[in-house]
């Protein structure tokens, strides 16, 4: 049913319809890529994606509709493709490509692998698997209006990891816990706080003041003394944040006063930190209640893009804690929440907590829209860029397959080339 492209030689056309290919990722690039592959005559396609469909995907991942939100991307993508090409042979995996089940043998079963990923870890992994299996890989990526496509073939081109790539920025613990100076520090702190209170507690995601901060000590012996003191300081510091919160029944006012008043006052006692820095100013819940709504916010801007005053964020903090508390209760004993930028109360919580901390440390507060960008590492995305890149990927795929044939041909047969017309 699917016609072969006129400009392809017969051999290439045959190779296209018989070869087996793997598409890693069924998101922005993946949807466009699947469409292009099927309409170019590829018949045997396997697609893998661990993600589920979200509303914010619908502005470009056109194989998905509103009714599919929450379902597996790979699965729905396969179903949508089969709707317009029932004869395509597609296998979908709702799984992570880094799962050891997908071993070198698995990769070797394909003639070509195409990435449609959005993170470095997976790209590195697929790169290595393709090198090990000696299968050509077409790597690609998009962000906003920019995109790129690269062909990686062992022994012919450099691989994905040949050139060092800039690492994602991480911040030292004491900056997050004691001396934030930029909004991003406060946002990271708020995300840690979410996990400490509602999610999986992580020793690397402490939010309380760091008494072992080397900068806080007047002399080196002090640091050591402080460190041991905090270890021995049994009760208060030893109890986990979550346990403490639970003991108060996740009372928003008690949480507010601990995080934004008591802990800040504790930081102030580490006076060396504030010699050259502007000292944080603790908040008081009672005072926050007095603050009315900021008149400036009553304009036509999208709600998400408004910046509230500190009273507004205090109320938002209270509200989101109450909502998350009941979410947690609904899940039962020993439950944990996972932070998701697209889950409104989770996003509200981070917006409120981050902004309160920004205010305390004399930084200009940010709108929910901006906090979401930073907290969620959001990369803007549109249909057009993905369409362009996916178009390029398939053209490169044809060239890769063609050169494989050429290589074989120089070894074995004579040069035959006959144009095949669409009919």
């Amino acid at each position: 049913m699917v016609q072969l492209v006129g400009p392809l030689s017969k051999e290439l056309a045959d190779s296209v319809s018989s070869c087996k290919i793997l598409v890693v990722g069924a998101g922005g690039i993946g949807c466009e890529l699947l469409k292009n592959l099927v309409l170019t005559g590829f018949k045997n396609i396997e697609v893998i994606d661990l993600d589920t469909i979200d509303v914010s995907n619908l502005n470009r991942q056109f194989l998905f509709q509103k009714k599919h939100v929450g379902k597996s991307k790979a699965q729905v993508a396969k179903e949508s493709v089969l709707r317009f090409c029932p004869s395509a042979n597609i296998t979908a995996y709702h799984d992570s490509i880094m799962n050891p089940d997908y071993n070198v043998e698995f990769f070797r079963s394909f003639q070509l692998v195409m990435n449609a990923l959005d993170n470095r870890a997976a790209r590195n992994h697929v790169n290595r698997m393709c090198l090990a299996a000696d299968i050509p890989l077409i790597e690609s990526g998009t962000a906003g209006y920019l995109g790129q496509v690269t062909v990686i073939k062992k022994g012919v081109t450099e691989c994905y990891e040949c050139q060092p790539k800039p690492t994602q920025k991480t911040f030292p613990g004491c900056t997050i816990r004691n001396t934030p100076s930029e909004p991003i520090h406060c946002i990271v702190w708020a995300k840690y706080l979410f996990n400490q209170l509602f999610g999986e507690e992580d020793a690397d995601q402490e939010v309380s003041p760091d008494t072992a901060d080397p900068e806080a000590a007047w002399n080196p012996e002090d640091t050591a003394a402080r460190a041991t003191a905090s270890d021995q300081d049994g009760d208060i510091k030893r109890v986990s944040t979550k346990d403490w919160a639970r003991s108060t029944g996740y009372d928003p006012v008690k949480l507010f006063n601990k995080l934004f008043k008591d802990d800040i006052m504790y930081l102030l006692t580490m006076d060396k930190l504030w010699k050259k820095r502007k000292a944080p100013v603790p908040l008081d819940w009672a005072e926050m209640l007095q603050l009315g709504e900021d008149p400036r916010t009553r304009n036509s801007r999208l709600k998400d893009q408004q910046v509230l005053n500190v009273g507004g964020y205090s109320r938002l903090f209270q509200h989101s804690v109450e909502t998350l508390r009941s979410q947690l209760a609904d899940k039962g004993d020993g439950a944990e929440l996972v932070w998701d930028k697209d889950d409104p109360p989770a996003m509200d919580f981070v917006t409120a907590a981050a902004n309160l901390r920004m205010h305390i440390f004399s930084m200009n507060m940010k709108s929910r829209f901006d906090v979401k960008s930073m907290a969620g590492n959001i990369i803007p995305a549109i249909a057009t860029t993905n369409a362009v890149i996916a178009g390029l990927i398939v053209l490169e795929a044809l060239k890769v397959l063609n050169s494989d044939i050429q290589q074989c041909r120089t070894v074995r047969e004579k040069h035959i080339k006959a144009p095949v017309k669409s009919h």
């Binding site: 400009p7 292009n36 200009n364 549109i382 860029t385 369409a387 362009v388």
Partner: protein, 533 residues
């Protein structure tokens, strides 16, 4: 109603971060017309429907064939025999229920015969796989109606786009490297006053190291002026001396070593750009000198009204400078100092915008238009973007094709490299010629390929001869284009679909600068080029 709004915000979140809500609004108010729902056409529409264009109308007289189904995602076997406009509209509509889809079962030529004014209602007309004569006819109609026209074509492994718009104004061009508008070379009164409220030498350590770098540079500039006859540091050498002056101003601790003052480091880094003389670019000057800016009538568009308002400001209250932009970059400072400084610029920007607004109001009044015709919000945005205004003017198709006015020099010099994308343009022109002579395109059926090669070659030669072009078109290209046989490979259509939709979005949102005016994509070599023809 508001739940609907939140849903849209969620759905469009990732693109709002690129063109903002006013860009989205422009998109949702647009109605585009597509001629021919071939693969290229439906791919373009897909990329406009997904982000939420207001409405689309497909004009197509063809019936769906098996060949269509083979390369078009938006047609199925059941569509065969149906009108292609209708079949495609049904599928495209599924992409986004917010978008209104319409179709007309008519060929573009018939429509031009019977009702050319039909096209006047659209924000943009996109013509795909149109024969040259239809293009020319439609081009003439749209040119006089002032409707932008985007011509697109996939021909084998070649993609082609041509933008035809008489005048396209851009307020938000989003330049890649925009310099800040700090006015340090000619501080306005409020800025001067604010600067003089700082006394660096008598500040305590904390304040000194948290003073915005803009103030630091301003203060040291005053020192410099005293010793240099009020002249800005002009060249690298002078700027180095100036940087050292600032460096020397860094406080020292009790051991004589320099303290860590990041704000001073920032000041030193920014000396290069912060001292550039404030002046208006030639592009903006040209806009002010345009006849549209000079002759304000009741027909004058908002853009030119506002341009005239800004020009009046420049020539009077602005003393040769544009309204202050009002933004300053992030910097090391305590928040009080930062906010105060930011407010100085912000308030001046508001003041200047108000003056511009008054000028605009008087022009509106003079031509009998109500003052609400142009919103304060638009005026503020215009003033903020004043340094980056752009106007794009494309040559008409008539000018491109006429033997009197075609771009002979451009074509000839490009063809100095015989494999330049320009040869693909000449081949496209040649296959159009072939179509005119033989009522079909070359090499569509296998048996035609060989004999059409020589026929196509004749077309190439007559094209070159008629235009007095002594360039060499290699035989390889003639063979190649015969082999293509008007195939429309899906993946090339997909690429072009993305590129064309992106230009369409630029035209509709008036953000970013569209190409001017011809784009050629070579899918074999993965190269492309733009020409002004």
């Amino acid at each position: 109603m508001s739940e609907q709004k939140t849903n849209k915000e969620q759905r469009y979140d990732r693109q709002l971060r690129l063109w903002g809500d006013h860009g989205q609004e422009a998109l949702e108010n647009a109605h585009t017309c597509l001629l021919n729902a071939s693969a290229t056409g439906t791919e373009i529409l897909k990329n406009l429907i997904l982000p939420g264009i207001g409405a689309f109308t497909i004009v197509d007289g063809h019936k769906v064939t098996g060949e269509d189904v083979g390369n078009n995602f938006f047609l199925s076997c059941e569509s065969i025999g149906k009108n292609r406009a209708q079949a495609a509209t049904e599928f495209l509509q599924e992409l986004n229920s917010d978008v209104s889809g319409n179709f007309v079962e008519e060929s573009p030529d018939k429509l031009l015969d019977n009702d050319p004014e039909f096209f006047h209602r659209f924000s943009l007309v996109i013509g795909v796989q149109l024969p040259e004569s239809t293009c020319q006819r439609l081009g003439a109609v749209l040119w006089s109606a002032g409707v932008p026209f985007l011509v697109c074509r996939t021909y084998g492994l070649v993609g082609y786009m041509r933008l035809v718009v008489k005048e396209h104004t851009v307020v938000e061009s989003h330049p890649d490297n925009a310099l800040e508008d700090l006015r340090l070379d000619q501080p306005f009164t409020e800025l001067r006053n604010h600067i003089s409220s700082y006394h660096l030498d008598s500040m305590d350590k904390k304040d000194h190291s948290h003073t915005p770098w803009i103030i630091v540079i301003a203060k040291y500039l005053e020192k410099w002026y005293n010793e240099h006859n009020c002249q800005l540091p002009k060249n690298y050498k002078e700027k180095e001396v100036f940087r050292q002056l600032i460096r020397d101003g860094i406080r020292k601790n009790e051991n004589g070593a320099p303290e860590e003052e990041e704000n001073f480091d920032e000041a030193i880094k920014n000396v290069n750009t912060a001292l550039n003389p404030t002046k208006i670019s030639s592009a903006v000057d040209d806009i002010f000198n345009c006849v549209q800016c000079e002759n304000i009538t009741s027909q004058t568009s908002a853009f030119w009204m506002m341009a005239r308002g800004v020009r009046d400001f420049v020539q009077n209250e602005g003393n040769g400078s544009l309204p202050v932009r009002g933004t300053i970059p992030d910097m090391i400072a305590d928040s009080d100092k930062f906010i105060n400084l930011q407010n100085v610029y912000r308030e001046k920007a508001l003041q200047d915008a108000a003056v511009v607004s008054k000028h605009i109001q008087s022009h509106l009044q003079a031509v009998g238009k109500p003052s609400e015709s142009i919103s304060e919000q638009d005026i503020k945005l215009f003033c903020k973007s004043a340094a980056f205004l752009r106007v794009v003017r494309c040559r008409s198709l008539a000018e491109e094709y006429s033997t009197d006015t075609f771009q002979k020099d451009t074509i000839t010099s490009c063809m100095d490299s015989p494999d330049s994308e320009m040869v693909l343009y000449l081949m496209l022109r040649s296959v159009d010629r072939f179509y005119q002579q033989h009522s079909r395109y070359p090499g569509v059926y296998n048996y035609q390929v060989e004999e059409d090669i020589s026929k196509l070659k004749l077309c190439v030669n007559s094209l070159l001869q008629e235009h007095g072009l002594s360039v060499n078109v290699k035989d390889d290209y003639v063979h190649e284009f015969c082999r293509y046989g008007t195939a429309e490979p899906h993946t090339v259509a997909s690429f072009l679909g993305g590129a064309a939709a992106q230009e369409a979005i630029k035209l509709i949102t008036h953000q970013f600068v569209p190409f001017n005016n011809t784009f050629i994509y070579n899918a074999m070599s993965q190269t492309s080029a733009t020409f002004q023809l």
